[in-house]
C-alpha cells in the first residue's frame, strides 16, 4: 500500500509534526511504502536550515532526512508557503540576492502539482496538522 502525506503543522508549535514523522518512520519499517511527503502552510518550517531544537528535544529535521534517505523519499515544500515564510533554496537565494539558502537539504521546493501527482499515485493520503 502506497501512502502520501500532507503536513501542515509547524514542529515548533504542533504535535502533528511529530505524528507525521512517526507515521512516516513506521511506514518505512512496514511492508507499505511512501510516495512522498508534502509540506504546506506552517508545515514548511521543519525545513528551516538554521533550526536548532533544544537539547532535550528530538531533531525532527534530521529524522526526516533519514527517512528520506532510507526510502529515497522526496520531501517537498509548497513553494508559495515556503517563500512567504522566508524559506529559499540556493537557486532562489541567488536569484533574489540572498547570502545563502535557508532550506536544509534534502527538503526541496515544489508546486502543488507535485502533491496532486503524488496523490494520484498513492493508495492513501493522510493530512497532519489541521487547525482547530
Amino acid at each position: 500500500m502506497r501512502f502520501a502525506l500532507l503536513v501542515q503543522a509547524d514542529p515548533a508549535h504542533s504535535p502533528s509534526a511529530i505524528s507525521a514523522l512517526r507515521f512516516a518512520e513506521a511506514v518505512a519499517t512496514s511492508e507499505h511504502s511512501l510516495v512522498g511527503v508534502f509540506f504546506q502552510g506552517d508545515g514548511v518550517q521543519v525545513a528551516q536550515h538554521f533550526r536548532r531544537p533544544p537539547r532535550d528535544e528530538s531533531d525532527l529535521q534530521a529524522r526526516w532526512a533519514k527517512v528520506s534517505e532510507d526510502c529515497t523519499l522526496p520531501l517537498q515544500l509548497c513553494v508559495a508557503s515556503a517563500l512567504r515564510r522566508g524559506l529559499v533554496d540556493s537557486p532562489e537565494a541567488e536569484r533574489v540576492g540572498f547570502e545563502a539558502a535557508t532550506l536544509a537539504p534534502p527538503f526541496e521546493l515544489a508546486g502543488l502539482a507535485t502533491f496532486l501527482a503524488q496523490m494520484q499515485t498513492a493508495d492513501r493520503v493522510l493530512t497532519f496538522g489541521v487547525a482547530s
Binding site: S81, A113, M119
Partner: protein, 118 residues
Amino acid sequence: MKSVLIISQSTPYGRSSAAEALDTAMAAAALDVPVTLLFDGDGVLQLLPEQAGSELGVRNLSQVLEALPAFEVERCFVATPALAQRSLSPDTLALPGPLLDAEAVAALLRSADVVLTY
C-alpha cells in the same frame, strides 16, 4: 483519476489554511483532477458577504471565492449543520454552491477517493 474532497473548515483570517484550501482546489482543477470543495465548520464564516481583508492588509478571500468558477472549481458545497450551529442564515451569505445536509455530506465524503482537511 482519483477524486479529491477538500474540506475547508477554518475561519478566513484565523490561519493561512483557508487560503491554502482554495489554492489546492484551484491547482487540482487546473490539472483536471476531479475536485470538490466543501465549506463546513468555521469554514462557512468565509462566506459572509462584504468582507474587507484589505482593512488588515491581508488577501481578500471573498474575491478569491468569487473567482472559483473562473478557475474551474465547479463543485462547491456548503454544509447546512455548520450554518445552523453558527446562527447563520443561508440567504445572508455569498454561497459558492448548493447547501448539503448531514446525510448528503456523509455521502459526499464516501464518494471521494481522497479527503483533505484544511
